[in-house]
Each structure stands twice: as structure tokens, then as C-alpha cells.
Amino acid sequence: MRSLIDILELSVEEIDELISLAEDIIAHPEKYRDSCRYKKLATLFFEPSTRTRLSFEAAMYELGGNVLSMASAGSSSAAKGESVADTAKTVSCYADIIAMRHPKEGAPMVAAMNASIPVINAGDGGHNHPTQTLADLLTIWREKGRFTGLTIGLCGDLKFGRTVHSLISALARYNGNKFVLISPVELKLPSYVKKDVLQKNQISYTQTTDLEAALPELDILYMTRVQRERFFNEEDYLRLKDSYILTPEKLNKAKKDLAILHPLPRVNEISVGVDADPRAVYFKQVLNGKYMRMALILKLLEVEV
């Protein structure tokens, strides 16, 4: 029985397998329609989330499985003081696999240590969000056909943005990639990510505050939202939230085959006018997230199709 808590628990080969499986699901959805028949996914979301929970639920339904879900964190036994460990043990009696989102960092790991069924981390605070990274990787793969030799711009909140940290860790395992880190000074990539991931793997990177200057050299632009919930201080949030706004005019300087990704939801960091640009692939990324979650559920449940 295996869980997924951190993207780095998957080897490069396993990520390749998941991508191949997702591509096969996209090409032949009918093959997988009943692959999880009589299996149940429990979505335990202790923090508000629409898209990730719906993505997991849609993924399970498209595999022919069923979903157990709680109405909200406030109505769960956690509100009565039940521990994550006890919740995991209890839900193991009802479901075949768990997807858990929790505001506390490490909660899904505690669940995995206590559950007798696989646990998927669907986001734990500002820490890990491996299935978002899987969605990002499938999108890059489908748009670029490779994970090597890419210049990847990461823009916005690089300090608290967990998706950014996970994506850098995942892409740092491939050769020839270069990162351009675009953020306000206050939201720079933490030094431990630079040291432990980029410098340790001798990955080339530059840091800048200027999005427009960086745009022309990018193959991929990964935009992020400045997240209100990661700030203890409202003033800091208000000061930094409008640091970068991508508009159609700014994109005039970008490569014709640039791919613009965003983990969504966006607030105003990508203007709606960009949506019609063929380089904007963030809604494809949402769909890719569902396919990768389908592939992951199949892998963790050890379902052969």
C-alpha cells in the first residue's frame, strides 16, 4: 500500500509512467470507464477548495468509482476535536483511497502513517501539493513534448507558493533547464529551495523583479497568485497582491510558442484578455489535472487496465 505526500516520492520513471497512462486515458477514455467500479474515494477537505476536490471527484467518477465526501470541515468530526490519525483510521474502514487537504503542514503525512489505505496529499498548507505538480508536468509535456532544455519563468509569490517549490523540485531532475525567478523582493524564492534544489543540482537560474524584461527568453511562464491565506499580516498582502499583471500587450514580446500556466484560481494576475491567446494553457492545465489524478488513483489502487 502506497501513498503520495510529496512529488519527489515519485521517481522520474514513475512520472513518465503516469504521463503515459494519462495520455492513454485521454486517447481511450472508454477503456477506463469501469476500471474503479465498486471502489470508493474519500475526499477529506479541511480547508476550502473547489477545483481540487471537484477534480478528484470527477476523476473517480470517470473511472467508474464512487466518492465519499464531507460537507465541510466545520461539520466533520475534526471540529469535535478528533485527531487526523483517528480520522484516517476511521475513514480507512469505509473507503479504498483518501484525498486529503488540510491547512496544517504534514497532516496528510500523519494520515498516511495511520491509514490502512493509500492517502493522496491534496495540499497541506503552504507545504506540498503533488497532484498540482502532476497537472503542471502533463501540461508542459503536452505543450512542449519534453522536460529538458526549457527556460521556465516563475512569476509572483515564489515565497509561499507551494506549487512553485514542487515544480522546481520536479523539473530540477531533468537536464538543461533554466529557471527565471520573477517576484517582488519580499516574495523571493526561499534560500533553502535555491540551495537545496537549484544550487545542489547545478541548475542555472536568475532572479529578477521585471516580468517584461524576462518574457522574451521564456519557453514557459508559470504565473501564481499572491495568496491572502498565507499572510499573517493583511497590510503586507494588500501591498504585494498587484505586483504582476500579465496583459495581452506584455505578451507581444514573448515567444510565439510560449506556454502560460497558472495553478488557478487567479485573481487579477492574468487579465481576462489573455485567455483568448493560444499560448494561455491554464484551463487545459485544469483538465490535465483531472487526467493525472485518474492515472494516480489507478496506480495507487494498483488497478491494471
Binding site: V84, E105, G106, A107, V110
Partner: protein, 137 residues
């Protein structure tokens, strides 16, 4: 300054000067019923100056705590006034309930029953990280 030698007990020697009291607290030596001496800033040819702790009883020492706080210490076991064993210390690979995670977003802040576990992630720089949230100790 003269401290009597012990007959049966333990001498923790070569403690980096200033860390003796920290070790005393973490090893909970204040809870022992035997005599314990902390000698601070003793002249040493090898280290310039050092701290020493003498415990007048043969107790089970938590070597992980010693290794975490000061891996260069030596532990001398004394029996009948004679040095019978000299133990060297290594950096522990895991610490359980020795140090506590300070990240307010960590699951350990709300789940009181969870053990606080840190793993050695960089031996050279002696970096330990919380296994749950990966925050540096």
C-alpha cells in the same frame, strides 16, 4: 577550583564551552537524585576551554541528545574509580521529542499526541528538519 573525582558514574567531557547547561537541561539531569557537577569554561589544551559534566551514578544517557547538541563530546564511564570505557558520539539520524517544531503551520501544533520527530537531512551542515512540515530545527 577542585571537584572531587567520582567513583562510579559518568563524565561528559569536551563539551563546547557554554553548552554544558543546555545539555544539563535536555538530559534532565536536574531530575536525578545523585550528585551532578557542571564545570564551565575549564582550560583545555585541545579546545582552549570546555565544559564538563560529572554524574555520580551510572545512568542511561540519551546519546541522541548528546549527538545533536554537541557531537564532539566524549563520554567516560567510571567504575571503582577507574576509566573503563570511553564512548564517542555520532550525529543521530533521527531525534524524537528532543526538539520541537516552531512552525505555527505544522500539524504538531494542533495534534498534541504526535511525537516531534526531526531527521538529519544534511550531515555536513548538521541540519535537521521536521518530518511533517520539513521546517529546519
Amino acid at each position: 577550583m577542585k571537584i572531587d573525582s567520582i567513583k562510579n558514574g559518568i563524565v561528559i567531557d569536551h563539551i563546547t564551552a557554554g553548552r554544558g547547561m543546555e545539555l544539563y537541561k535536555l538530559l534532565k539531569l536536574d531530575q536525578l537524585e545523585c550528585s551532578v557537577a557542571i564545570i564551565q569554561r575549564v582550560h583545555s589544551n585541545k579546545m582552549c576551554c570546555k565544559d564538563i559534566i560529572k554524574i555520580d551514578a551510572d545512568i542511561d544517557l540519551d546519546m541522541d541528545i548528546l549527538g545533536y547538541v554537541d557531537p564532539d563530546v566524549t563520554v567516560d564511564i567510571i567504575r571503582d574509580g577507574v576509566l573503563v570505557e570511553k564512548r564517542s558520539i555520532d550525529l543521530p539520524t533521527e531525534l524524537r521529542n528532543v526538539i520541537f517544531c516552531k512552525n505555527p503551520r505544522c500539524i504538531t501544533t494542533t495534534e498534541q499526541e504526535l511525537p516531534h520527530v526531526f531527521r538529519l537531512t544534511d550531515r555536513e551542515k548538521r541540519i535537521y528538519r521536521c518530518i511533517y512540515c520539513e521546517t529546519k530545527a
